[in-house]
Symmetry: C2
Subunit: 213 residues, 2 copies
DNA sequence: CAGTGTTTTAAACGGATGTTTTAAACCTAC
DNA sequence: GTAGGTTTAAAACATCCGTTTAAAACACTG
């Protein structure tokens, strides 16, 4: 017997299904069926499918962004020397780990949602996410700028997106890649293996010598 | 009066709409309406919506992969010293440019489709793409291995995916990022700017020192 | 226990979806 | 020009979609 509320059960089911099948590919009937609640409950508790999707993103992103912002602020006002790139990315990783646990499945789902959010173009979801969480991103960008002060801003802008793209993309498709590695290379790897490889890659890519400007 | 055939017009419209709205978010009626053909033409020429999507991917990916494979083969049997990482990625870039022209829009659409393909998990599309184009990817991987011989295979596997993730992700969302840059930073950048920054980033990330194994 | 506000339920709404059918139009070759 | 195969056309198919309704069940307060 589930102790969770109807709204929570809907959010849980929606988050899983959105991550697998995308937003348009997931119907309210799938969600309510998986959640074991009545179809009308979605519109009763959230108003519409669009608002449900926002709620899913909000529930997923808010704890992560709040925790990340708090850590960035504490390091920012300590007056000490700025954080290195590795430390910055490690903060992101540990924040994600603290918030979502080291549950590989859940973490991958979160990253898949991030990828979906990022991939949105025309939908109003992108605007919503930018307005809601753009501030944290800009604060993170300031820290990266401090960590790589010699880098031209334009170059840095793109390299950060390269690095985040590498992270989101790889972690979002982690499940699939894990399967490939096991079948083709007989290697069984965990999520933490990938993350520990990812941080040096991102740092090295950002720090790489500037060729032209 | 269009000289193109009905099947071609359907493929053109489907490619554009899939890239914008995703697969599930695009209806056959949208496609046929945009293509200016009858609704039943899709099932007549392609059999089903699923097969139409495969045809779109096939038409988009085949020229690129064929051309890429040809270049990799020619460099492989020349017997000279192996290609550098930069040269390898430049080959990918120039191949993409030759096949899709430097039309920024079309290139971005192609990358968006790549991102969609990559993001697929459970759908049979992933299996189809792996079976159809996995060979080219493995051949590319061999060249990367030659370019970074000191790198442990496991580490290399992940770094390649990091690099490809950075590329696909950034280029797929290029349109959106371009807008952000223009609005927030008053910078107007072209696709070629990003690509010339991307190649050094990928090379530097892959070449970075190995920390642990 | 009655009453009231909240939540859940079943059913139906209009519309959109992928697919199929049947007939018309087209084109080519005899 | 007419027969036969190919392509298009309009319409209908059953099913699924997001949303709404109205009544039943529940939870709580007085």
């Amino acid at each position: 017997m589930p102790k969770s509320t109807t709204a929570e059960r809907i959010l849980d089911a929606a988050q899983i299904l959105f991550a697998i099948k995308g937003f348009a590919g997931t119907s309210l009937r799938h969600i309510t069926s998986k959640a074991g609640v009545n179809l009308a409950a979605v519109n009763y508790h959230f108003g519409s499918k669009e608002k449900l999707m926002r709620a899913v993103f909000e529930r997923t992103l808010t704890p992560f962004c709040d925790s990340l912002e708090k850590q960035l602020l504490s390091h920012g006002q300590s007056g000490g020397e700025p954080l290195t790139l590795e430390e910055l990315f490690e903060i992101m990783v540990s924040t994600a780990n603290n918030v979502y646990g080291d549950d590989s499945k859940e973490f991958s789902r979160f990253m898949r949602l991030m990828g979906l959010a990022y991939a949105q173009t025309q939908d109003e979801l992108r605007g919503f996410l930018g307005a809601r969480y753009g501030m944290v991103f800009r604060r993170f960008l300031v820290h990266v700028k401090l960590a790589a002060p010699e880098m031209p801003p334009k170059e840095l802008f793109w390299r950060i997106h390269f690095a985040l793209g590498a992270a989101v993309f790889t972690l979002a498709s982690f499940g699939g890649l894990q399967e490939v590695l096991l079948n083709d290379y007989k290697m069984d790897v965990g999520l933490s293996d990938v993350v520990t490889r990812l941080v040096p890659f991102m740092a090295a890519g950002i720090r790489g010598e500037v060729e032209v400007e």
